[in-house]
């Protein structure tokens, strides 16, 4: 399973070297990666359908209980199949859509990283590794939205999306750590056994808020929804794959995954119903005012995500069933509509729905795909969309409390979504073909077969619901912690309230489609509300944040080394001094002090003389040399008190410091008055205070009772466990070797920094004005 997840990353890495072979005709070959993964995951269907959960754990840092745990149940199987299945079609489609694009290899690399990350996300059982994959999906989405990196709007949208979803990732990490400390485990499976204890925990609300923060940002729920329409700047295959079928559903996935852990409380259900309800209505209404096909689809996607959140909030077995079916329905028809839109955009040169018409005459198969998808989106039988809509209505009519309001909201949303589906799937193909589109050509089969395949699947699953019932839908409901044995999917449910609601939806929706034509006038009207939209408010906040950061940075990062040093030391003196004055118990035990020997006295006198010379000399080189003397005198003191390792290191460091200083000072002008009398007094006072404070702390440390457990442990075990007699070195390279590894990495980074600062300066002639 680990190989399956890493395959995407490995392929992306492989493309770095072999990318140029995949740019031309071979591009379509890369679709074999998602196809093989799809087959791999499909082979699990019988096992999962029989109620099994396939899990695999790789030990990572067992001493801290951090493991790489993956588990495949009904929920993750559905998502894995969607990720790889739609992924396969998108890979095929892209090979023609971005044919001969300069950066096609790069595009496939990003797409593969995304696929790997998304698979990792839905398969992770460990919440920390889930967070890592979660962030990776945000990052790959950032690169894909900004793929047209020469367009400023693309770059801005990518940044907005990264900002919003990054905030959500932060929230997920906070939630993960909080849940980890509440339950003592990071495994989601183990958390499920502690559901009761969690619901009564004092931090329950906070943990839920963190999880919601992550889910709502990722799944574009109100008021975080606005990054998604912006993300439509990405090439259409990306919109299809990330921003409709898979990534945006990660938030929904998160909520479903945590339903058996945190769900079934009043707070959980009510919040989800309210947020999901507002989102689905708000963005469904927005679709009426859009003229860009992708804009219509973006808002209807947000609305669909709202419906899913809403259904999870209802929390009944029927609602989960409806959610599971609706995920499949939505993935099938929305991906189709996006792919169709991409074809229209490429062949007709516009996505403006007010001018598009009659395209069926030039691209019949595409029109068929669009038509079938629109039917499924509208929930007209015999499509699988009808099934999804029936189940949704069924769940809403059986909800507890405020049934009328809930049913009204969902019916209204569905009516508006029917309109959106018709606008995107039917409007461009019907009517008379305008003069300017007669040039439009039939696209490559690589482009029209994928959407048609998806659209036909939407009808096949509708006529034969048994195909998805026991293999895909039931395991999801089981994974959400409900009994799924009595579920039976069928198109015909008898004549009841739900059917009446369905008929109302379809009739009103179709009427709306014929009465209301999308127009720019309408779009402009809603544009007037822009200043109070969440997007504008957030933009203003960001602006103030930026301005404040600039001011703050200018105050502290003023470019004068002496000011930095002064600030740091002053801060330390105030902070440490404040703590120290409150808690000090300075007792110097004279009896424990050893006799002062003559050579110690001599070294100390040399040391003090060195300090005075450094401070009062007028020669820079002299000051540096005198500092060297001070350092070497300290080395000698280390030797006297049996710390040879320290002495050796200090000795080498001091030598090098003096050399470095000399190298720099050698080049400076001979003499300059750098400070006046007042500044010297000020610096003197600061240095004396700081030095005095450090001395006091050193004395205080002596007065503290010594805890020798740690030292004893190392001394005792250095030879037994690490085969070494020099305890200092054994700690450095063995017991705390990871620290050392990170420290040498920091050293290397510092050296690269110095090199970069001094060597890689932009020549003044190359500098942009």
């Amino acid at each position: 399973m680990l190989t399956a997840i890493l395959l995407g990353f490995l392929f992306a890495f492989f493309l770095v070297f072999a990318g140029r072979f995949f740019k031309g005709k071979l591009a379509v070959v890369s679709a074999l990666i998602p196809l093989s993964l799809f087959i791999y995951f499909a082979s699990f269907i019988p096992r999962i359908a029989s109620g099994e959960v396939v899990s695999k754990t790789y030990e990572w840092v067992p001493s801290f209980g951090v493991n790489l745990g993956f588990s495949l149940d009904g929920l993750s199987l559905l998502f894995s199949l969607m990720i790889t299945g739609i992924g396969f079609l998108v890979y095929v489609y892209t090979s023609s859509y971005l044919k001969n694009h300069q950066y096609l290899d790069r595009f496939y690399a990003y797409l593969s990283v995304f696929m790997g990350a998304m698979l990792g996300l839905v398969l992770s059982d460990n919440i920390i590794s889930m967070f890592v994959f979660w962030e990776l999906t945000s990052i790959s989405s950032f690169f894909l939205i900004g793929f047209n990196n020469t367009s400023e709007a693309s770059r801005k949208s990518a940044l907005t999306a990264l900002g919003i979803t990054g905030f959500g990732g932060f929230s997920l990490l906070a939630g993960a750590l909080l849940l980890g400390s509440m339950t003592g485990t990071y495994s989601i499976t183990e958390m499920m056994t502690m559901k009761e204890a969690l619901a009564g925990h004092e931090f329950y609300i906070l943990a839920v808020i963190f999880i919601f923060g992550a889910a709502f940002t990722k799944s574009a729920q109100f008021p975080f929804h606005f990054w998604l329409p912006g993300a439509m700047k990405a090439p259409t295959p990306v919109s299809t794959y990330l921003h409709s079928a898979t990534m945006v559903k990660a938030g929904v996935y998160l909520l479903m995954r945590f339903t058996p852990v945190l769900g079934d409380t009043n707070f959980w259900n009510t919040t989800l119903i309210v947020v999901g309800g507002i989102t689905m209505l708000y963005s469904a209404v927005h679709t009426l005012f859009r003229t860009d096909l992708k804009g219509v689809l973006a808002y209807s996607t947000i609305s669909a995500l709202g419906i899913l959140v809403f259904l999870i909030g209802l929390g009944s077995q029927g609602a989960f069933l409806a959610a599971a079916v609706f995920i499949i329905v939505h993935a099938l028809y929305k991906a189709t509509l996006f792919l169709v839109t991409g074809i229209i955009d490429l062949q007709a040169g516009t996505r403006n729905v007010t001018v598009l018409a009659g395209l069926r005459k030039v691209m019949m198969p595409v029109a068929a795909a669009g038509f079938l998808a629109a039917i499924s989106s509208a929930g007209i039988p015999p499509s699988v969309g009808f099934l999804g809509k029936e189940l949704t209505y069924e769940a809403s009519t059986h909800s507890t409390g405020m049934v009328i309001l809930i049913v009204a909201a969902i019916v209204l949303t569905k009516i508006l979504l029917l309109y959106a589906g018709f606008v995107a799937g039917i409007k461009p193909f019907t009517g008379r073909l305008p003069e300017k589109f007669t040039e439009a050509k039939m696209p490559d089969p690589l482009m029209w077969v994928p959407p048609l395949l998806l659209a036909i699947l939407g009808i096949v699953f509708g006529i034969f619901p048994a195909l998805i019932e026991s293999y895909l839908v039931k395991p999801v409901v089981t994974a959400l912690g409900k009994d799924a044995s009595d579920i039976h999917l069928a198109l015909w449910h008898g004549f009841n309230t739900v059917l009446v609601l369905s008929i109302i939806t379809i009739v009103v929706g179709i009427l709306l489609y014929f009465i209301l034509k999308p127009s720019e006038k309408l779009e402009n009207r809603i544009g007037k509300l822009e200043p109070v939209s969440p997007e504008s408010i957030l933009k203003k906040l960001t602006y103030f944040f930026g301005a404040f950061s600039k001011f703050w940075t200018n105050v502290f990062q003023n470019g004068y080394l002496r000011n930095y040093v002064t600030t740091i030391i002053l801060f330390l003196v105030i902070l440490v001094g404040y703590i120290f004055i409150g808690n000090s118990r300075l007792v110097i035990d004279h009896t424990k002090l050893s006799q002062i020997t003559a050579y110690e006295l001599a070294v100390t006198i040399i040391l003090i003389a060195g300090v005075f010379y450094t401070v009062f000399t007028r020669s820079r080189i002299g000051a540096v040399a005198a500092m060297g003397v001070v350092g070497l005198a300290i080395c000698l003191l280390f030797v006297f008190y049996s710390a040879p390792d320290l002495a050796m290191t200090q000795f080498s460091i001091d030598t090098l410091t003096v050399i470095l200083f000399v190298l720099v000072l050698y080049r400076l002008p001979k003499y300059l008055v750098l400070s006046d009398y007042k500044m010297r007094i000020r610096d003197g006072i600061l240095s004396l205070t700081f030095g005095g404070l450090i001395s006091l702390i050193a004395l205080q440390v002596l007065a503290e009772p010594v805890n020798s457990d740690v030292g004893d442990f190392y001394a005792k075990n250095a030879y037994i466990m690490a085969h070494g007699k020099n305890v200092v070195n054994v700690i450095l390279v063995d017991f705390r070797g990871t620290d050392t590894l990170i420290e040498i990495s920091v050293l290397a980074i510092a050296a690269i920094g110095v090199y970069g600062l001094l060597k890689l300066r932009v020549k003044s002639s190359d500098r942009p004005n």
Binding site: V61, S652, L663, K725, V733, A751, Y755
Partner: protein, 137 residues
């Protein structure tokens, strides 16, 4: 800074100091020393040579830019930590040891390779910083 005495002495001192630095590196596990100090001493040896014979000579002597020692050292240290994970399914940084001590060197284990990595990084970092500053100052 060209003095005949320093120049002549540095020619003899360089190999001696380098051998000494390796000696310090190897004895680290049992007696005062180790990769960090060893690396500093090796760096000092080259700096001394650069002082006496000029930077260009010292660079010629090194053949490659000292900066390349950093990734090599980091990789070696990292690999010595990863080796038990790949080889034996043990956690990261588990110490691996040859059962019998080698002549002259003594016991050899993953910690020694880690220390050699530290040594190389320290040499690389120190020389990169000092060479860069002295070239551009």
């Amino acid at each position: 800074m060209k003095t005949l005495i320093l120049k002549t002495a540095s020619n003899y001192l360089l190999p001696v100091l380098l051998v000494f630095s390796v000696f310090i590196l190897l004895r680290g596990h049992y007696l005062p020393g180790g990769g960090f100090v060893g690396g500093l001493i090796a760096a000092i040896a080259f700096v001394l040579h650069a002082f006496a014979n000029g930077l260009a000579k010292a660079k010629d002597l090194l053949k490659i830019h000292p900066g390349f020692l950093m990734p090599i050292g980091l990789a070696l240290a990292f690999l010595s930590g990863v080796a038990p994970v790949i080889g034996l399914d043990d956690p990261f940084m588990t110490g691996l040891w040859f059962p019998d001590p080698f002549p002259v060197i003594g016991n050899v284990g993953s910690a020694l390779f880690f220390d050699i990595g530290v040594y190389l990084v320290v040499v690389g970092v120190t020389l990169t910083i000092i060479f860069t500053i002295s070239e551009s100052a």
